[in-house]
């Protein structure tokens, strides 16, 4: 346990030191100005020539050629560089107004930290919601399979086969056709739900953009939970653990010894499955669930990194101003790499802290489950 926590801390320190080193290697804006060609800057700032006027510009080059007849190529280069400098004054993002705080100033750090705390808030909320919903959905799927429910397509085909049987009376045929239609519609509904769950956040957000504001915090939380395939993947992982656990020897022994194994009881109603503190008393599923939950703890680590990826995609792709990942993208655009490094470091630390927390949690969970307490 201590070894793992030590490794996490060393990792954070290593990345911090590396990024500080990279930060110090970056040339500052002032340094860039110093490096600009002094001669070009001198002529450009002289105010004697209007370089936007091609007549004056050509005249200037002629004067240079008169004074320095042996450096005609150099003179031409100076005029060319003055032109370049003029263009840069209009196109260089660093020269744009609006970027008041250039580089990593104290004000910038404070502003980024406040954005970071909002990010952390969203991250924690989404993490809890996904964790809870994924377990609930996985249990529903597991229970439905135990109840012997078929897929909607299979149901549709079966009802359709009933309808196609020539020996069946007309009213039974009509009933089968209705049921086939009903199953088909439910299948289509499920597929639409799946489409939503697998859609990248930006597709869903742009789809709803004309109907209501998509820049709010609740919408961002909803997007992070429902899109990018996070919920469905995590739910499937938990479902796999439930299935694996249900095949364990102790489950079979418990069933043979008479523990309840019937899944068609009211305790598997949706309202019980969706309870935050799920309990399935005196049923074998209680043990399957608790053991799967224990094994699922380490999956949270994977979820934490994936969730950060999801949130970054949402904030960057939707260009939501005032959020940390939008700020990151803007600073990449304006080549403010010191700010970029600072934000990347914060995101890395978030993942590492979450990993440390999960390792600690798992360690204590293990002690209880492996009777070491």
């Amino acid at each position: 346990m201590r070894k793992k926590q030590f490794e996490h801390i060393v990792s954070i320190l290593f990345v911090t030191v590396t990024l500080i080193f990279v930060y110090n290697l970056l040339p500052s804006n002032k340094q860039l100005d110093k490096d600009a060609d002094a001669i070009v800057t001198k002529y450009y700032n002289s105010n004697l020539v209007d370089f936007s006027d091609s007549y004056q510009k050509n005249l200037f080059q002629d004067v240079l050629n008169v004074y320095y007849p042996n450096d005609k190529e150099k003179n031409q280069q100076i005029v060319y560089e003055i032109d370049e400098l003029r263009i840069r004054k209009f196109t260089d993002p660093n020269a744009k107004t609006g970027m008041v705080d250039k580089g990593l100033t104290w004000g910038k750090i404070t502003s980024i930290l406040s954005m970071y705390f909002v990010f952390l808030f969203v991250y924690i909320i989404v993490m809890i919601v996904i964790h809870y919903l994924a377990q609930s959905f996985a249990i529903i799927r597991f229970v439905k399979i135990k109840q012997g429910r078929k897929s909607y397509l299979n149901e549709t085909i079966s009802y359709f086969a009933e309808y196609a049987k020539k020996e069946n009376p007309k009213n039974k045929k009509t009933e089968s056709l209705k049921k086939a239609g009903y199953s088909f519609v439910k299948g289509v509904g499920k597929t639409v739900g799946y489409i939503m769950l697998f859609s990248p956040a930006y597709v869903v957000a742009y789809s709803f953009k004309t109907s209501f504001s998509t820049d709010s915090l609740p919408f961002m939380i909803l997007l992070a939970v429902m899109t990018n395939g996070l919920l469905i993947n995590y739910a499937y992982k938990f479902y796999s653990l439930l299935v694996a656990e249900s095949k364990s020897g102790y489950v079979e022994t418990a069933i043979v010894k008479g523990l309840d194994n019937n899944y068609n009881t009211p305790q598997f109603a949706y309202k019980n499955i969706f309870k935050f503190n799920k309990k399935f008393s005196n049923h074998i599923f209680q043990h399957i669930y608790l053991n799967a939950k224990y094994k699922n703890t380490l999956n949270i680590k994977e979820l934490s990194a994936l969730l950060i990826t999801g949130l970054i995609i949402i904030e960057m792709a939707l260009n939501i101003q005032g959020y940390i990942c939008y700020e990151l993208l803007q600073n990449v655009l304006f080549k403010q790499y010191d700010v970029v490094i600072f934000i990347v470091l914060l995101l890395f630390i978030t993942v590492k802290l979450m990993e440390m927390f999960v390792d600690y949690w798992y360690y204590h969970y293990s002690k209880r489950y492996e009777n070491k307490d």
Partner: protein, 290 residues
């Protein structure tokens, strides 16, 4: 009739085959529809984006397989040398890569790619695609690495592994031939399928982000068109926005399939492929664990 229904039921039981068929049919129908109703420049662009995205996806899985296989063997080499410092350093670096959010890693890779393109160090479009594939695979290969490591750990728990070791068989042969080749191809293939989905998702997302947020900095003409960058085009975004309009005006929905095909098709390919890959991969793992 009965035979047909039996065949359909058989296909329904095999989720991987069923979804592969769904995907193939869905994409074919979409392409035929686009051929009929989408203007030809946009259709060519869509086809190019589709093929480029899939090319990158395949390159990612090839690189990931090579990287993870190489790393597993390197880790084995370090363990065999009994030099714990090197092995500890190796694990440390691997865990550090694992903690970098994939999208951030890929974004940094794209910044490097922009620098390379601006300095004309890479000129061929295919090489750009290979570079993108490599960058993505560098941040996703650990999924395959973990699968391979888990397989080794599982076999180490059996008598199989030590029995072979005491018989004088080289550990490299046990791992590469006996475990990976003879007993894990199904698991590796399953992981490759799901990694293809991850690669497609990351690539589309980063291309979308770059096209939306960094378009003044990154010269998009140097980047191959992919489904993500196609979706970020103004007309595609208008097409996606039109979906929202159907919520308030349901009759407008009919226009989606005639007037807004470019964006809708790009989004459809991404979402439908991601969903199908999930289903195929889960169906496949069910098949190999039977």
């Amino acid at each position: 009739m009965k035979t047909k229904i039996e065949i359909l039921k058989q296909i329904d039981d095999q989720n991987d085959v069923k979804w592969l068929l769904f995907w193939l049919i869905g994409i074919q129908v979409m392409l035929v529809w686009n051929n009929l109703f989408l203007n030809s420049p946009a259709f060519s662009l869509l086809k190019e984006a589709f093929f480029n995205s899939f090319k990158i996806g395949f390159i990612v899985i090839v690189f990931s397989l090579l990287l993870s296989w190489g790393m597993i063997n390197f880790s084995l080499y370090l363990k065999n040398r009994n030099n714990w410092i090197y092995h500890y350093l190796f694990t440390f670096v691997i865990n550090m890569i694992r903690s970098i959010p994939q999208i951030l890693g890929v974004l940094i890779g794209y910044i490097v790619l922009t620098f390379i393109l601006n300095n004309e160090m890479l000129k061929s479009e295919f090489m750009v695609i290979v570079f993108i594939g490599f960058v993505i695979s560098f941040f996703v290969f650990l999924e395959m690495f973990d699968t391979m490591e888990n397989r080794i750990e599982q076999f180490k728990k059996n008598d199989f592994y030590p029995a072979m070791l005491v018989s004088g068989i080289s550990e490299y042969r046990i791992v590469n031939v006996e475990i990976f080749y003879k007993n894990s191809l199904g698991y590796i293939f399953h992981k490759l399928i799901s990694m293809f989905g991850v690669a497609l998702f990351l690539q589309c997302s980063i291309d979308f982000i770059i096209s939306v947020g960094l378009s003044t900095d990154v010269s998009l003409s140097n980047f191959p068109i992919t489904l993500g960058s196609l979706l970020a085009k103004m007309d595609s975004k208008q097409d996606i926005l039109a979906i929202g309009k159907t919520l308030t005006d349901p009759l407008y929905g009919i226009n989606l399939f005639f007037e807004h095909l470019q964006g809708i098709s790009a989004a459809f390919i991404i979402v439908f492929t991601l969903m199908s890959i999930f289903k195929i991969s889960n169906g496949f793992v069910k098949r190999i664990s039977r």
